[in-house]
Amino acid sequence: RSVIYKLYIHTFFMVVLPISTYFYTSKYFFEEYGTTKAALSAAGIANAVVFSFIITAFMEDSGEKHQKRE
């Protein structure tokens, strides 16, 4: 059941984090709005969320395998 919970958390972060990163970096880090770099950083954050989900899914899977062997 905890796998669905992790999926919900990752989906929520996937929607909220890139857009808020874009607005936050374009306001505070890069002087003009709508800069290329702010959008690229938002895309990087989206990929980081995907990466973290892949790692979570693989760890969950190998945890199940160890349980079955014992």
């Binding site: 796998v3 999926l7 990752h10 989906t11 996937m14 929607v15 890139p18 857009i19 874009y22 709005y33 709508g34 290329t36 959008a39 690229l40 938002a42 895309a43 989206a46 990929n47 995907v50 989900f53 892949i54 899914a57 693989f58 969950e60 899977d61 199940e64």
Partner: protein, 172 residues
């Protein structure tokens, strides 16, 4: 002849907003197509092999990232929209912004459309192969990562196209 007249005299607002609509619309079509193809396969395969449920959600997340790329680009494009009086609207800089947003939106939209379809079909076959033989999944994940990079290409080129387009401005 009529089409040429329409193309030449259309307002920059038409081009810009059509581009934004195509950007988010086509990206979501690609993501939805991928998710429904992969989702049906995961559900079908999990009847006999329930262990595939967790790992194959990775394919779903890859498809959803494509939709998030479309949303990010639509937000970046829509930051350039302004309300300008129609007598000041038809300047060359505004025309450039309108055309840049149109073609940038088409670039991002079509790249994400085909990226979502590719990841979806690969993910559906990955789920069925994983149900048969668990060692295959990691190798198929490499194929999906390559497919997901296509959406990133669309995003980068869309950013390059519209990077120099200023927002809509009235004549001074």
């Amino acid at each position: 002849m009529i089409i040429l007249t329409i193309i030449l005299t259309a307002s920059p607002y038409l081009w810009a907003l059509l581009g934004i609509a195509l950007c988010i619309g086509l990206s979501v079509v690609g993501a939805a197509w991928g998710i429904f193809i992969t989702g049906s396969s995961i559900l079908g395969g999990a009847v006999k092999a329930p262990r595939i449920k967790t790992k194959n959600l990775i394919s779903i997340i890859f498809c959803e990232v494509v939709a998030i790329y479309g949303v990010i680009m639509a937000i970046v494009f829509s930051a350039k929209l302004q309300n300008i009086d129609s007598k000041d609207l038809y300047t060359p800089s505004n025309y450039f912004t309108g055309y840049a947003l149109f073609w940038g939106g088409i670039t991002v939209g079509f790249c994400n459309l085909f990226c979502g379809m590719a990841v979806g079909i690969t993910g559906s076959t990955a789920a069925l192969a994983d149900a048969q033989d668990p060692t295959l999944f990691v190798k198929i994940l490499v194929v999906e990562i390559f497919g997901s990079i296509l959406g990133l290409f669309g995003l980068i080129i869309g950013l390059l196209q519209t990077g120099k387009a200023g927002e809509f401005a009235g004549a001074k």
